[in-house]
Symmetry: C2
Subunit: 368 residues, 2 copies
């Protein structure tokens, strides 16, 4: 294998696939990335066996071939290369990988490409396409609500549903639930689907999706393939039954508060400082013209926050975990939000005033 490449293209490939490199894995080959030169492209591949990423960049191939290099050291080298033409040459006998730039040369050890796992080839029969910046925004508004507790795998994933032209994402850790829908751009043999995508997969997708990209999603029974520009990400799906979110979302409310998102967020940030270590409980009292947020930590002190609101319905009061409110207020993406309440034991709902496609449910905390 021998080729010429720019530092920029090498760095792009390295940065993209490094996300799939196994960080804690007993198999040494999985700490590497496979690089394959063919047809004036260089393909980077990495996988932790749960998720695999391929990224293809343009290079000038002199001799085809492939090698597995240490992901850590190869990327550290590429990051520090000068911005001049780089020559990459692999000795097929010992997999030694030579990187030449100007009069200088680095040689790093390689491993046999034959030992690297082959990513599955998916049948591209059923697929949908969605706008990249829309999909990224949907992920940002939903993925944080998933659980990080691996003992109940379903809740660590994000439910992805397709119904006709609508793509829906839902995540919950059983204390709160985030729901977002968006319109797909086109579909092929697919108008009804419900799968659970691992949380790590979905957050990596949001990081590698550019503003102007289109994301194509292809589904098989156990796997999903995302194609974005020159990148393919393939991931297993999580098996199991996601809870029926329609059943938990309350229909109607007794009190609806309209409030400036920034005011609500900043008050909640201050109030969260004054909560008991480990509990994060804040009390919210709704009056005609104001929302009063209070919390009290015996060790630190107490807070009384008054936020201007517009109220429809009854005065009421309820307690929440401040972290769950902070999470949604940071991503609500609208100048104003609604907070809909029924009573102090029923879930509250947060919705951006200007976006009917987003809904966030949060369970109250029972207090004395």
């Amino acid at each position: 294998m021998k080729l010429y490449a720019s530092r920029e293209n090498l760095l792009h490939g390295v940065n993209i696939v490094q996300r799939a490199v196994a960080t804690k894995n007993p198999l040494p080959i999985l700490s590497g990335m496979l690089i394959t030169a063919e047809d004036n492209t260089l393909k980077f591949t990495a996988t932790d066996l749960e998720m695999g990423i391929e990224c293809t960049v343009p290079v000038t191939v002199v001799e085809q071939g492939s090698v597995v290099v240490s992901a850590r050291y190869f990327s550290e080298v590429v990051r520090r290369l000068p911005d001049i033409r780089i020559e990459l040459e692999v000795n097929p006998n010992n997999h030694s990988t030579n990187i030449r730039y100007g009069q200088s040369e680095i040689s790093i050890h390689g491993m046999s490409p034959e030992d690297f796992p082959i990513l599955p080839q998916l049948d591209r029969e059923k697929s949908v396409t969605i706008n990249g910046s829309l999909f990224r925004n949907m992920i940002k508004q939903v993925a944080f609500a998933a659980s990080s507790d691996n003992s109940r795998p379903i809740f660590t994933g994000v439910l992805l549903e397709i119904n006709g032209e609508q793509l829906k994402l839902v995540a919950t850790d059983t204390h709160r639930l985030a729901f977002r829908s968006g319109k797909i751009a086109s579909s092929q043999n697919l108008d009804n689907l419900s799968v659970i995508i691992p949380g790590k997969t979905i957050s990596e997708i949001s990081k590698i999706t550019g503003e102007d990209s289109q994301v194509q999603l292809t589904f098989t029974e156990n796997q999903v393939l995302f194609e974005i520009d020159n990148i393919c990400l393939i991931s297993r799906l999580i098996n199991g039954q996601f809870p029926n979110y329609n059943q938990v979302v309350p229909q109607g409310y007794k009190s609806r508060i309209r409030v400036k998102s920034k005011d609500f967020l900043e008050s909640m940030e201050r109030a969260s400082l004054m909560t008991k270590e480990g509990s994060s409980v804040v009390k919210i009292s709704i009056e005609e013209l104001s929302m009063n947020i209070t919390s009290n930590s015996p060790d630190i002190g107490r807070i009384y926050e008054q936020v201007q609101i517009y109220l429809e319905g009854e005065e009421t009061s309820i307690s929440f975990n401040s972290r769950y409110l902070l999470d949604v207020l940071k991503v609500a993406d609208d100048e104003e939000v609604y907070l809909e309440l029924t009573d102090s034991l029923s879930p509250g709902i947060v919705k951006p005033v200007g976006n009917e496609n987003y809904l966030y449910l949060i369970l109250p905390i029972r207090t004395l």
Copy 2:
């Protein structure tokens, strides 16, 4: 105590003195900061008993007084306050500290100001003044060479010498030594002095010194006081005899290399990737027109770097710890540096081509 202040002024005071708050200290009072209202100023004070900082900001005092508040919680609160007029009121009976903004209020616990240690008042007889940006630059070029090994306290400090109009800073960890001199702006009863300032003190000084500030240094037998704008920092000195740096700096050289700092730095960064874990040894061979840097890690691979140079004197070769070269190349502040060598067992000297006031000595590593 009662006063009105802007968030910006409170935040400035908090940010400055927080650097002196004891992070690991058995005395609870030292995890606090003393705030004292008098004559339309609010004075913040913190100390870890090694170093103390005072910072005074303008406020509108309604009632004089003082209190000690938790440095951690008070600064977290101040950071999150809205940018409106803040009222601060302390209940002198229980030291409860009330922070009011708009219709909202935070109350945090306070401690008695009488329990807070009093910073020593220094006799301002002997002092010098130096330009802030010059002093900051001098510290940047020297302080990193001090040791972090507390078993030999002298080497954790920075030697500060005054000889007539010259202020000199020197630091060494016994493997390398950095020396920088600069001209003082004015002096009072002081033209000869040699003291050792703790490394932590000197690095905090460089962080709080603004570009346009003047720094006034006042010395007593065991302490130094730095005054910068509205900030006073007082620190103990380190007792002991600093090694005579004039004796270790070689007079003359057999080879002098002139090289672009950026080229040398980038080559050294790549070469340092390919060094043995824990050793960081790189070999430098000087030829007529080039410097060749090589290193070899059995686990990772090897590197050969060629850098263009201009050589005066003999061809030679020597080995260094790459980290010590990287440190100086990052702060040399000149487009080109000299590397002066005598033989493979004698120290090397790095100097910026355009600045005779800076010198960096580095001991070679004996290799086979």
